[in-house]
Symmetry: D2
Subunit: 412 residues, 4 copies
């Protein structure tokens, strides 16, 4: 298979997008290894996935530049990537930067607003026009770049939450919201998801934003027979949580309290320091414990913006638990990770696995990708090891497709 | 089923034995809850296990007292159990203390020697006489107390390691070592295991000592059709290790170094502060990583004796790992647990599950108990979550025995 | 000197007061050592301080009981004191409990309100009447118990902050607020301080509440020639901060961020979980850094209520700093202390040192006590070691008074 | 004053020397700030110290290259300095590298031996010849580079310890050891110190090696009227220790145990992983506690070589202490610092302050530099804050020399 695959990133000028593109090009040019890529594990390798060198990047954002500057900041300020890598790939980054198209500002929240470049963004569009414009961007990207398909991945800043209501349930009602310009009911991530699915492109939601969560949008995905999934990539503290929590569950040790304290800088830290944005994130992080433990311990997740940390996130978690004879004990952990470095390979993994599912004609949610998300769709388990087994079983089913029946062809 | 079951503890006057007995009696009398007992989890509850109130305790040690004093120290010095509990159960403890019979000193190592009470221990016995004496202790316990069977569990201090050689392979050769009085080849734990299996009693090795590791002893277990297992209970730092390591494996994050530093007081700390004893322990702790990761990272495990900590163990682990684009990151954890409190319920779990296997006529190693051990026999996986699944699958097979065929009757 | 000294505790039924009384009686009866008492250090020992056995306790609170129950909870739930100590001293505690008089509820904040026992508290008093009643309590305590003097120490829950305004400046205006019943301008701690100073009794403010902070009240202290001091006892995280910060200052290492995360249970944790109360505390904790460093780094102090911790407080601090050539490094610490156990001996120290100053005829603020407080009055330095030197110099001046001139007699 | 000052580094091709030179040149050329330099603090600024741009570097080592490669490794592998800085200053580094002269291998220990380049080092020299050769190197450096004086600073790897004996006491006897070629009694650091002092050059011992510790060498320093000092620069864990220990001392909190666990990579880590070298270091680190506390708590210092950490050192310390009523509590800290980055500015500070003392005609030990060392000579206090005050008082005495009498002229 030699076709080229489009990767359309929402938030394409951000730190994570910058690292995704930098990393993909570095791997493609043989300037970096494949460590951190789940799809390179022996358990997943049997799948005939698209080569990283065949990925072509573009995307939406609310500012016309950023990709190069972010990579330089990652190298210089955060010392998270080697400067020579950024130097060597600056042209590749600039080329992708030139393909970035205006996204949707309204509804992306107060913190995002401050990052927007007004002259780059269309004004006074109706919502229906926005949806059309976004869809046209995708079609144009596919045509211009001669791509087999385009995988849309949302990496944009966390949006403030809005409640899901009755009109989000059926596609018909959702489309009426669109026609009536109900900006109070439709967040940018929903519009992005709508545009992608409506044109037959898979959509993956790597942020805590709503995205494809409304049932109406899932209906749209099924209607056009495209796969979709989300939400909120599991990269750091929550990953450790979903690995550690089974220890307490399976040893019958009652978790009394699980307190998490996250400090981080960078654009993500800045956005999350706004309480309206933070709420979406905290909710996504908090849910995992009760699912694994079977009860809800006292649990808080605090997030503070600490500019000096840049893209590095430090999380301290204190777990207070009760053992035999009522004796209280504790486990603490300190996670010191670079968020974009942790997330970028997962984005590439998701692109490759989603493209594979799409190519095989699968549609709807992809529960075998649960291990990548904090709030995965259509699965019960939050235990990371159990989620990984879902992926392994998927690979086993598909690596020898003859044993499992003939796959359907893609439907576009 | 109303039969009484004997529990014969090696190291019966130590802190762990004291907590096992205290805990069992507290649960039996309704003075404490069942938190910390794996056998009380809904996943295991379907098995018809022996009630904790029907366990009768005795054991071997190298000192004639200790059970009561240890419990008092746990309450007063370590503040690990409630004083009122020790007061309420002091008579129960004293009764068990009176059933403790002399163990084997020679070969238990220099640190153990300092704890021994010479007048309590027989002198100038041949090894063959020792083995006979130990066997007779078990038979007498069963008869005197009118017990259905006796489960022998080794909780004694870690022995210094000796190499396994050719003569440990076949039972015939092993028995010749015994006859020839080869004290350089036979450690106390081997003698305890020999005595138990030779008389048809199951043997569980909760310490890092050799115990039933020699193939000759496993041959003996099979010959008399009794179940056995070991070794080295997984209660703290290593438990966390085998829970965390899959995170790095399944995210394709290369572990560069995994450094562990354990500080603990108490009898266990004192024994392990002797380098000859420490070596056995460290080896048992170190093996788990490479099994899970698929390669051996730089890894050290240090153990220091810190008297002020008493029975509390604090472990600091520093995990240095490499992510995408070669970026190094880290995870640290601090485990603060009370060793006897963590281990005691597992000992009761092992007694109950071993008795069940024995009652059903199972023999040989019990791989479904892997999740309880640092160096489990006859299983490949060191991942805690995967090991727990082995237990769950065992329960599923046995809870509805009709579906899985008729169990054999016990063979004694 | 054999006179008896009164200690009048505000918040006399709380955990800290309970530990103060328990500890004083335990020391007096020889049931506990003197570790933790600064006044027992060789540096301070030369002063002829009042013996702990001569302290007589009473106080104000908003509930009529608590002292015994708190001590029992400290023993049973928190395992912070030995149960046998509480048993042995229960009568002593009960006796003090009987001397507790109703305090002032209004203005103590929403969280305090929930702890109050209404029937115990007078209602519909004018503020002037309240002040009189409080003063009469002190005089009655002194007379009834035949005490040399009474030292008032505020240990009550942190009050919500109110702004200091013009009327707080001069005594005359302050008294007018009192007469006019300006409850919006007068917090309970001001009333307690007013009552004490007005009747000639020293007042020490161990909480973050206002207390003697208003200049008008300091004028009152000077007028009646009594010593006073505050505020906010320095027992845990902030103590560590004021010890560590000079490291960075004197090595010319720029502190980029200093993030503190405190988790605690108990009554104090519950009160501080209310944002109106928390603000007072956080402000008091935050000020110390810029004073030592000479600039204000990014610094946050978070406090979360974690019920399972009881009286134990765990603080995690992350200090991000920049060294030579701009390289960023970090220091983290985890403090695990029992708040009442840390604070109680300091309260006794403050009583003894304040009584000494009063006996010698000193009046006004006592800057030699700076090392005991987060926000000490009338000193510049926040460095703990430098503050301790102020105490040592005070002792040196007073231990050989002949060298420093004749002390004035007390003025009452 | 415009004279140029020589800085002669022992271990001139190591990571620390490399960072010293890189940093000095970066500051001199305005490419880096002065953060981390104690001599730039307002407390020290009043002294007329030599400008960093007037320092000229050379030194001894056992390999002919290293300075450039070490700087590159610090940039690339450790991400501890910016690559552009190394690029910009590579010529400066190379120039210094060319001035490095052969040091002394024998006696530097087994770990050092493996780093030596044999062909670079003279063989079959008598000890007397070695001492002469070293002295000649210093004189030649001064003459060739037209330097006012030369300050010798020992940065070489820690030597194995040898016992101090009678012959180390008097200069006469020491010189006899030299003549008799007693290589068992004379370590390289003693030879370096001897050569420096004998030719009238100040000597500062930044390592745990003996250096100027033998009284005979101090006699030599006094004889030639040169200042000297040592030993073992205080940069990380021990610095934190000497800052924190006063907290426990001044609060009367008994330290039960203070356990330290250091992990580090790099050349220093490699050398210290050899137990013969480690012993010197551990001894130097351990002494500080009992000096501050007034008693010796249980205390261990472990050091492990963890290659992946490179120049970064992580130290975990666990402090177990007892408070009021016997309650045990704890403080932990984690220090994550880059050793060379922490030490390099201190080396420059020591050069500047030593040059100043020398210029003013001071001789003998320089106790005002105590705050820079783990085992400072001729001072009692180990408390960092108190040590810093010694420096401030020195500055105050010298900044206005007219008030304190006329300084003597340098004696060379």
């Amino acid at each position: 298979m030699t076709a080229r695959i489009g990767v359309w990133l929402v938030g394409a000028q951000g730190s994570l997008a910058s690292t995704v593109v930098l990393g993909a090009r570095a791997v493609a040019r043989g300037l970096a290894g494949r460590g951190g890529l789940v799809t390179e594990l022996p358990e997943v390798a049997p799948l005939p996935l698209v080569g990283i060198e065949r990925l072509v990047f573009g995307g939406w954002d609310i500012a016309p530049t950023g990709l190069v500057a972010r990579a330089q900041a990652m190298a210089r300020d955060d010392r998270a990537v080697e400067p020579r890598l950024v130097d060597a790939l600056a042209d590749d980054l600039r080329e992708v930067e030139a393909h970035v198209r205006p996204g949707v500002l309204e509804g992306s929240g107060p913190a995002a607003r401050s990052l927007a470049v007004k002259r780059f963004l269309p004004s006074r569009e109706t919502l229906a026009a926005v949806a059309r414009r976004l869809g046209d961007d995708l079609d144009a990207f596919r045509t211009d770049q001669r791509l087999e398909t385009v995988i849309v991945v949302n990496l944009a800043s966390t949006e403030p939450m809005i409640p899901l209501v009755k009109e989000h349930r059926r596609l018909e009602d959702f489309q009426r919201l669109l026609e009536h310009g109900r900006r109070d009911r439709l967040t940018p991530s929903m519009l992005y998801a709508y545009a992608a699915l409506e044109r037959g492109f898979p959509y993956v939601n790597f942020t805590p934003s709503m995205g494809v969560t409304p049932p109406a949008l899932q209906e749209l995905g099924h209607k056009h027979h495209v796969p979709f999934y989300g939400r909120d990539g599991k990269t750091g503290e929550t990953l450790v949580k979903t690995v550690l929590a089974p220890l307490f569950r399976y040893r019958n040790l009652e978790v009394l309290s699980w307190e998490g304290f996250n400090i981080l800088g960078g654009g993500d830290g800045q956005v999350l320091s706004d309480p309206r944005h933070k709420r979406s994130k905290v909710r996504s992080k908090a849910g995992v414990l009760s699912s694994i433990l079977g009860y809800a311990p006292h649990a808080d997740v605090a997030i503070e913006f600490v500019p000096s940390l840049g893209n590095w996130k430090t999380a301290w978690d204190y777990i207070h638990f009760r053992g035999f004879l009522g004796t209280k004990m504790s486990l603490q952990f300190v996670w010191q990770g670079c968020d974009s470095i942790l997330a970028a390979p997962l984005v590439l993994d998701l692109v490759r696995l989603t493209e594979f599912a799409h190519r095989r004609g699968e549609a709807g949610p992809m529960p075998h990708l649960a291990c990548f998300f904090k709030a995965p769709m259509a699965v019960d388990t939050q235990s990371f090891v159990d989620q990984f087994r879902l992926l392994v079983e998927y690979v086993e089913r598909h690596a020898n497709p003859s044993r499992h029946g003939t796959p359907r062809k893609r439907q576009r």
